[in-house]
Each structure stands twice: as C-alpha cells, then as structure tokens.
Amino acid sequence: MEEYRDLFLAEAGEHLQNMTDRMLELEKDPTATEHLTEMFRAAHSLKGMSGTMGYELIMELTHEMESLLDKLRSGEIAVETGLINLLFEAVDLVQLMIGNLDNRESFFTEVKALEKKLREWPAQDEGDERKLPREEGRPISKESSAAEDNPQEQGTGADMVKDKLINSELNEFEKEMLKDAVFRGEKAYLINVRLRDGSLLKSVRSYMVHKALEKQGEIIKTQPSLQAMEEEKFDRDFSFLLLGKPDLEITALKKKIESIAEIEKVTVSSFIIDDQQEATTTAPAKETQDSAGGSLKKQEKAAIQASENTVNTETEEKTKKSFNGEDNGDLAQVRKKARISTLNRSAEKTVRVETAKLDALVNLVGELIINRTRVLELGKELKNEQLEGSLEQLERITTELQSAVMTLRMVPIKQVFDRFPRMVRDLSQDKDKEVELIISGEETELDRTIVNQVGDPLVHLLRNAVDHGIEDEEERRRKGKDPVGKIRLEAHHEGSHVVVSVEDDGMGIDPERVKEKALQKKIITREEAEIMGADEAVRLVFRSGFSTAAKVTDVSGRGVGMDVVKTAIEALNGTVEVKSEQGKGSKFVLRLPLTLAIIRTLMVKAGKEVYAIPIEAIRENLFVEPQEIRTIQQGKVITLREEVLPLNCLKEGLGMGFFEEQDVYPVVVVQAGDRKVGFMVDELMGQQEVVIKSLSTFINDIKGIAGATVLGDGRVTLILDVAGLLEDGRVNVGKENLNH
C-alpha cells in the first residue's frame, strides 16, 4: 500500500488544488454551478482514493464535504461566504492530514468537529444517518447498520464508478460490440467478484467463475486481463463484462458463482455503456434513443436491479471493511480510479516521472554535450570530409536533444501561482481589505528548481502588497480610488529570462519615510540620505535589517524584510527591482533565468587559469590602458562615462596570484545589486554555454565560486559568483571599502 503513497499524495494535491480554484471561482460567481460539479467530483475522487489507501479520517471528512457539495448542487442550500470558509477549513484539514499521513489519527477531534459542522450546515441535521461505516476494530456497532440503511445511494455510486472503470478501459471495438448486443436485444452485465482473504488458488477460482459465466453468454472483457488472472496478478477482486439474454436470472447466476469455494462476495449488475450512462445525468443521447429504443427504461430498471443486488449482498455479507475500502482493494484500481477524473477532463497526455530520474537524464545530456564539443574539436583536426559531415549531423541532433531534455525540466509557473488566490483572499479577509488578485501569464514555463524556490519570495511580496501596499477601503474611497484594491501578479518570457512582477495600486513607498527609517537603523548616514534620490531611497528596502512595517504583524514583518526576497532571488541568479510611485502603488519586478543547469558565460584567462563569468553579471568589456588607471586610497579606479569604476585584478581578487603590469588590460565590468566593479584579466576568451556542476560537498562553500564546469577538453573550469566575489573583503568595490 505504502508504495502508492507518493501517487496518492500527488493526485490528492491536484484534487485539493482543483477544489480550491473552483471554490474561489464559485465565490465570485455563485451561479456558476459547473464549478460545483467539479468540486463534487474532486471530493468524490479524494474520498475514493483515501478509502482505498485506508485513510479513514480523510475519507470520512471528504465524504461530508461531498454530501454538503451535493446539497449545494441540488440547490438545497445556497453559496455564501460562511459556507465557502467552512469548505476551505475542510480543505485545509485534509491538506494537513495528507501532509502528516503518519500522524493523521491525531487529527481525530478536529475532523469530528468539522464533520459535524459540515453535516449540520446551516444548522440542519439530516446528515446523521449519512455516517460512514468505520474501519474494522473501532467499536461503533451502530455504524454498520447505518450503512445498511442507506446502501442504495452508496451502492449505485460504487457501481457507477466501477462501470466507468470498465468503460474507460473499453476500446472502440468492444464498445461497438456492446452497442450491437444492445441492439440485438441482449444485455450487458457487470460481475464483480471478490475472493476470500488469503485465497490460495486465485487463478483457479477466477477460472471457475469464468467457466460458469461462459455458459450464460459471451464474456467480452475482464478486469484484470485473462492473462493476469492466470498469473494471479490481482489482489482479490476481478470483474467480467458479460453479454447475455436480457432475462438472465441474476439471482441464480449469483448463487452459482457463490457456490464456488473461496468466494467472499459477488455482485451482478446491469452494465450501461458510457454514452448511455452520461444520459442518466445529462440529456439523453439522441443516438441511444434511436438505435436502442426504450433503453432509457431499461436503464432505470437496471439501476434498480443493480441496487437490489447490492442490497442483497450488503445484507448477506457482514460489512467488514469500510465501504470504500471494500469497493476495490486492488491497488491497480487506485490509479485507475484517480485517473478517471483526469480522463474526464482531458485525454491523458502526461506521464509522471520521478524528478531524480529527470535530473539524471539532464546530467547525462550535459555530459554528452561536453564530449561532443571535444569530438568536434578532434574531428576538425583530422580534416576528413566524411567525418566532418557526420559530426555536423551529430552536433545538430545533440543540440536538439539538449533542448528537448531541458524542456522536460520546465514547468509552468502556475504551480506556484495556484496557491496565491487563496492566500490573498484569506489575507485580505483578515485585514478587512477588499483585494482582487489578477494573475496572468501563469502558463509561463521555467526550470523546476527555480519554480520551487521562487514561491517564498513571491509569498513575501504578495503579503507585503496586501499588508502595506493596499489601503483599507475607507482610505481608498477618500483618495478617490476603486475601493477594491488590485494586485497584479504577472509572468512572461523575456529572452532567456522570465520576468515575474507583483504590482499593487496601493499607497506606494514613501522615499522620505524609508530614508528616515534607514537612518534610524544606521543603514545609511545623514550625508548619504541628503544626496540620495527617490529611486535609490526606495531601493533601501532591500537592505538587510530594514522593514518598513511599523509593527510586526501576522502578515508580514516577523523580523524578515525585503532583503530576504533579494537574497533568495539572487541565489537563483536573478535580480529584483522595485518601482514605486507614491500614492499610486508599487511594482516589484523579478528577473529569473530560465534554467539553472546551463548558463551562458564569458571565458576569461587570469594567470594560468580560465574562469567562466556568468553573462548575466557582466555589464560590458573594456580595454584599459595603464595611464587611464588612477589610484585612490590604494584602490585602482578608472573613470568610465563620468563614473568612478573601481578596478581589481581578478587573480588577486580570487587570491590566486598578483597583479602584473601589462600594456593593455582587458577589463570585465560586472555588477551585483548596485555595486559595479571592473575585473582586469589576462585575456577575454569568448562566450560559451556551460553545464553547472556543483563542487563536491567535501569542499566548503567558497565565496565567489558558484560551481564548476567541464570544458570540451576535459578540463575543469570554475564559474564565478560575482555577488559573492564582491562581498569578499579583498575586492575593492569602491566607496564602501574606502573607509577600511
């Protein structure tokens, strides 16, 4: 069971997310009942999945959610904020239990309390009999009888699921066969058989059932396949789809199968093929009416028959396990069941792959690219025309392979954005502000690792926007603004970058207040404050130890400020900027690289070594002659477009050598944050895309080194981390160092 846990977690997460999305939509437009259907479906799937996995508490809670949603759907109760809040509460609790599967039982009291609330909303109490049977061993004797009181609904529900199960498995040919049979006046029956626990001759038993059924008609489908049955590749349940006479003696057939040893339970029900089944809930399909006239009536009859049969079995067999657990113990079915919901929405086009496997693949392709470069170099030396031809081919294919593999790692930023509508809603409710979150560009894709790490900074920015950006309703009215504050969360591609922005139409950042605060916190000096422009002042919010919130609120504050955002983004090789107009709002713009695995670098030679500098950090390259260099307080500088640019020798900066005089110095101007520095190198060697490899865990982090890469000739080259390098004491970064 446990091996299916990951699958369960992933699927359950999707269902919960779907539910959250739909609830938010529904809250906006309570008449949009299609969302209710989706929510109901999600709750139902969750119930089924958790039941199969044996997570009773989750199953019970989702069952109550489902019941409540059903009431909503039927119009018995109306959509209102309180109800949505209650449902959110339930979603949260389910999420919590899913996140703590091993301790899920510890939520017992919460679940029971919430179940009661759900059941009694809005203080109606007809839900008591809807209680589910408990799992084995829990001493609640009344429960099983409660199940028997109400098996009809559950019974048909389960058969529907099973029907669908087989339906989703039917190929076109089998469907045609079914339709044909119905046309001929034959009928389809679904026979579900469960063997006793610990049955020793599973394949024999299934074969005997098969034999018994064969006499009654034509078996057109089995679940699992006949071969799997022969090989005992099933748990305890198997099903047959049988075509037979419409007046088939169901009870007799059942008895016959039950007489086979080791059979625990048999259900026989009429089987309705997919399009017809849809007809029970939606308008009857025209085709159905035409080809198999009166089939609708048959369906009704079948439904009754099916439920009758379930009643029989339910009474015959003591309910030993919870209903859903019994529904399908077969693990393969967990998957299928969970899959149904996705199948309904769109044809399945995706495969879940472990991320570790993906990473391994990306690494291998990285190796391939490196080796390709080497082979190409060797090929050129050989000057063989045929070889060159096929090498070109190789180059093209491997390049395509590389980009194809890289796209595998790309995921839409939606994964992160998805949780924000809910968060902003809760926050604004909390703060008693009206806030609308407008999201666009959520389909923008970027590297999985980046997506995973961009979440927290965005949470921070959004919280800030709600808490400090957007004014309360009254103030907005007074200012003549729309009383509903707007926060725009946007993502788009820009070259090899993804730009994500968070923009609010709130009060904006007051540069004077920021300066004052910075002065108080001794982040800047009085003199600096005086000459500081508004934009520069606003940027002070990124300095560590700075937080504009007057008080530490639940929303933001807690001692962390925007510097956390900045650090996190810079760790991803990205940048963050802020634009703010007082009274009109602020905009935070994050620029993120598409991928972390491969970066464009400029190769430079310094001493005997070659280093790779990420293009991202480079502003320009210069050639500086010795006479242009001046010395201010032991630091070298040049004047570049009326700006004083501190110069460093890269070798010295890395501690790998000493400055040597040259006729002309190639200089790479790099920037990290607002610091700009020139590095003198021996030679500029051109741009190259490199695969980043981390240095061994055995080596402590080296400030100024982001990682290493292997060049075409097999040599290891270090990749510089410009931000880290500039923080290092031995690099002259200008004014801040002049004090030392």
Binding site: F698, I702, L718
Partner: protein, 160 residues
C-alpha cells in the same frame, strides 16, 4: 579467479607510499587509481586541497596527502598517482607518491593501532597491517579528510 568467494577472514588493501612510509586503504573504499593529471586549483581553500579534477563528468576534489601531513612537496613524476576514494558518499582524490600493489591480509595480520607509541594519533589510524617484514598503516581517511586540524606525518606513523 580461483578465489572468487572472499572469505571473511581476508581483507584486500591497496598499498601506497608517502615519503618512506607505507600506507594501505581498504579496496572497497577505492574507486580507482589514476595517473597524475591536470588539477584545477581552488581559491581560498585549505592548502592541502590541490584542486578539482574531472572524472567522467564529475568534479572531484583532490587532496595532496603530502601537504596534508606537512611534508615538503615532492617531485611529481611517473610514479605519482591519484587514488579516488569514497568518503561519506562522495569521491575524493588523494595524491600519493606511488601505488605499490594490492595486498591480501588475513584479519589476524591486522592489529589495532598501538596505543603507547609517542607522537602517534590513534584516532587517525585504523590499524596496522603486517606482511612479511613490512608494516602498513591503515589510515582513518574519514577523520583525516574531514577534520581541519593540522596533522604531521609523525602522528600517523609508527616507528618500529
């Protein structure tokens, strides 16, 4: 190939030399032995870390054992080898003067480090192996490579 099943009472060791001392490391810990190749130096790291090399795409740090034990840097020649060992799930290269052979020891030939030899650090030595009249020191590489303290050769050798 006659000895396919390794008996419990026998251990295979890769023997190597440093200065005049002989050391050994369990063969299970050794990934491979390479000839000395170009090492990319790492800035701002311990002096005994020679740098990093590329081993089939993996970037592996290389430690100069001579420098680790405060020995003068010797001539690197034809005999110089890099032994790739696995320590705490990552690979590390060790530069040694030479790799001599693979030796089989019966367990009884391996003894715990003598406790009372002056200057010897027993925490850095796993044991001492005896073959004929040779004494090989089995180093505790985990300890030696993960601690930052200075270690001199005397501390890991035994004067017989």
């Amino acid at each position: 190939m006659t000895n396919k099943i390794e008996t419990v009472s026998e251990v295979q060791m890769v023997a190597f030399k440093l200065e005049k001392e002989e050391f050994a490391v369990n063969i299970h810990q050794v990934r491979e032995v390479l000839k000395m190749s170009r090492v990319t130096p790492l800035p701002q790291s311990a002096n005994y870390i020679e740098g990093v090399i590329n081993l089939r795409g993996e970037v592996i740090p290389v430690v100069d054992l001579r420098k680790r034990f405060e020995l003068p840097v010797g001539e690197r020649g034809e005999q110089t080898r890099i032994i790739i060992v696995e320590i705490q799930n990552s690979n590390v290269g060790l530069i040694v003067d030479s790799v001599t052979e693979v030796l089989r020891f019966s367990s009884s030939a391996i003894q715990p480090p003598p406790a009372r030899v002056a200057g010897t650090r027993t925490d850095l030595i796993k044991g001492v192996g005896k073959v004929a009249d040779r004494l090989l020191i089995i180093l505790n590489l985990e300890k030696i490579l993960t601690t930052e303290e200075v270690i001199s050769l005397e501390e890991v050798t035994i004067d017989s």
